[in-house]
Subunit: 329 residues, 2 copies
Amino acid sequence: MEKIVSLAMGSGGKESWELIERIFRHLGNDLLKEAEDGTPLPSLQNPLFTTDSFTVSPLFFPGGDIGKLAVAGACNDLAMMGAQPRFLSLGLIIEEGLELRQLERILRSMKRELALNGAQVVTGDTKVVPKGGCDGLYIGVSALGERKASISQRNIEEGDLILLSGDIGRHGATIFAAREGIELWNDLESDCRSLWPIVEELLESGATIKAMRDATRGGIAAVLNEWATAQNVEIEIEEEKVSVRQGVQGICEILGLDPMVLANEGTFLLVSSRDEAPKILEILRSHNPEASIIGEVKGDHPQRVVLRSPWGTRRFLDMPSGEILPRIC
Amino acid sequence: MEKIVSLAMGSGGKESWELIERIFRHLGNDLLKEAEDGTPLPSLQNPLFTTDSFTVSPLFFPGGDIGKLAVAGACNDLAMMGAQPRFLSLGLIIEEGLELRQLERILRSMKRELALNGAQVVTGDTKVVPKGGCDGLYIGVSALGERKASISQRNIEEGDLILLSGDIGRHGATIFAAREGIELWNDLESDCRSLWPIVEELLESGATIKAMRDATRGGIAAVLNEWATAQNVEIEIEEEKVSVRQGVQGICEILGLDPMVLANEGTFLLVSSRDEAPKILEILRSHNPEASIIGEVKGDHPQRVVLRSPWGTRRFLDMPSGEILPRIC
């Protein structure tokens, strides 16, 4: 077989089957092996359904690659709403000329990430576009999970506390540095990570979680503003409680961006009642010592996010706008 | 709001929400409106799950566009296995600069096609890539259906008859003609069509269908070969029973391709027992008078498809290989 992906591999004939078999080898499972155009699934009692497309550039970056990102990203959308990831669909749009070695490396990292989530790819589709038709590889993933708890932004109310699972902005900063060839900070690595294991631990602890959201595109600024708007509440954040690593801060200075708008791919926000917060924080800290309670839900400025500085001054943190960083996920 | 899609619309901030609201307006339904990162669905008893990515060029062609194709294509994968399409995910990868007017036209045609299937888009994702990052618009759709009958290639056995729902090759020929600006045949139009309505009629008639497959990439040659291989049978086709319109034949002569390998997006193959075939054919013919019984399942040459000419000669119809037509779906 050839060493690069050819247009013939997307034509639905012999070469397509050879490519699909090669992909199967990495993601293979009984449901996928028996697949026709659709895959029968066992019955689902409380299904949660999500989708995400991935166009990240570069395909490989410190801390991950597009395959890890795609599985973790889609599964995290489920985990953040209290659902255990189960069944994934995988759509690959491959640029003619992609090295098969690279594709296989990406599939291997998908497989690892699937195992962390206890999930399976059960249906797939592969398209090959001529050179220039995409940038190497785009991945579309849809995911089905079984809901274990009713976690939703609709539970957020005045008096709740806002927790953050770790330091922010690492994914966005890492992608920017990788793309621009900046190597100033050796420790800079994406936070790309599957969150179901920690969510499962939180649920098993008996803690009541009201809402969670991984702070991807638009960073924590986007999530906090979406919550404030959706629930018609004010969210007040203590700025100094939000941890930003030195490398991320450095990239932000180059870009002229606030780390609050930089993308994360594992770091997440969580809302709980005041009573539940301490035990949740303890679990979060066992995974990342930088986790902290960063703010609270109030009522003075509905639909606004307020940042409080260590000196007591306050300013609004707006919904991000404009081009932040294209193709970070 | 601007008239073209900008990179800022993919950054997860204010402009992203404006774009999403504009998309919502066309696909809006209660489940989508309330969507967070994942959408809770009602319980599913016999779910069937499928996925498809669409990179067709051009975006608009006689008989359809990428939006119609995406909804029909994904839903047809379900219908062909006896499942009623229910819930769809939609991933849009949009090239910076795409006219919003074009995007909205595509969304409107998705909406029409969703209605024909009785299905809803319940979760979505939008990415914007810089100019050159894709070709206008790529669409990824995953679809969930409820299975009403156990239709599968695994039911195919010696003695069964092969039915074809209409004339072949129109989609592939139309795309090629549209791309190359060939306007010799005015009547040439894609067969792009949602198949659930006709499948529902077939199921309600009480007819027993063993297998069905829409003959997309690789045409009927690919489907027949996949069936012959999967079930270790011979499939013999009477060549003159396979209807090809004049315009399609003309394009095939230009391309030097057999219409049997050209893509269809609505024309499908069906397998039934000899007894069930007449009433099935009657229903197929009420939709397309060119429907016919084109062959039968035999045992002499396992895993091969044999074409019998009107003069009684026989030749093998191989699994297509090589580049057929890139980006036809």
